[in-house]
């Protein structure tokens, strides 16, 4: 499958994939994203629910067995990892260019 068509990822989607490298439920993702972004990215409940549903449909995350009946647990899949690698590659190139151009812009 060509995952390039999903690029660029939105900031929130990237954070969710990152947070789910280790299995966790929805609220864990919310707090982890806040932590990882040092408070600069806060995702509300309705928004995170939509992102999770969307990533599940795209099979970038999967539902893993949960002992808690009321909280589903998710984890990033190999497709999810692959799309993250592509995004990191894209961002790295862009950042390198941006750093190089910084002087010219000033």
């Amino acid at each position: 499958m060509n995952l390039n068509k999903y690029l660029p990822l939105t900031e929130t989607t990237f954070y969710v994939l990152l947070a789910l490298l280790e299995p966790g439920h929805g609220y864990v993702v919310m707090t982890k994203v806040e932590e990882l972004s040092k408070g600069s990215v806060r995702i509300a409940a309705g928004t995170i629910y939509g992102i999770i549903e969307n990533l599940l449909t795209l099979k970038m995350i999967k539902s893993v067995p949960s002992t808690d009946k009321r909280r589903k647990i998710y984890q990033t899949t190999s497709d999810g990892l692959e799309v993250m690698a592509l995004e990191i590659d894209r961002l790295t190139k862009l950042t390198a260019l941006a750093v190089k151009m910084k002087e010219a812009i000033k």
Binding site: T12, H25, G26, Y27, M30, R42, I43, A44, A45, G46, T47, I48, Y49, G50, I51, K69, R70, R71, K72
Partner: protein
Amino acid sequence: MKKLKVFVDMDKEEMFLNEMAMKGYQLTRYPHMGSYVFEQKENKKLNYRVDYQLFTKKSDFDNYITLFEDAGWKHVFGTTYTGSQYFLPLDQGQTKDIYSDSESKAKRHDRLSKGYIKRMSLLPMYSIVLLMSADYNLLNLFTFNKPVIDDQGVILVGTLLTQMLLLIIKISPLVLIILMLFVNGRRSYKAKMIYKKSIKNESRL
């Protein structure tokens, strides 16, 4: 207290619920489309938030509600099939929203638009049953079973009235189907327009 009202625009619905709370009426139930049930309480400034989600599995619904509860929301009303889900912040002074970006917020109207179509999923079946009952010709619904004029050409008023009543009963399912198609179709279109408008308003580079 009951109030009959239908909102396609969920922002307006939130405002309506907040205004009702200001007047001392708090939402308790929304048992079916367009019928709000309120409980009289003290006048209060509340921050209602409306989401639209349909669920096929109870476990999915529980997972959704629990996520909102974990994030500080009280689920006021909503079932797996009503679609509209009503929330209040657990910490009542909060003015926060259940969405943190306009794109995901806009999508609830897209789901609502599709929800109106889903609501008509039984219509094809109803239509087939209706068509079968009319011997595969809808015009048959519009006929009298008995002659209403006697041999001398005199109108039999009694028979005419009962036959007309029967006719109304016979065609009522057809009228209902057409009405449902029209009403749901229109609301679905309206919701789609709200969705498209809010997507367009987003100025992204």
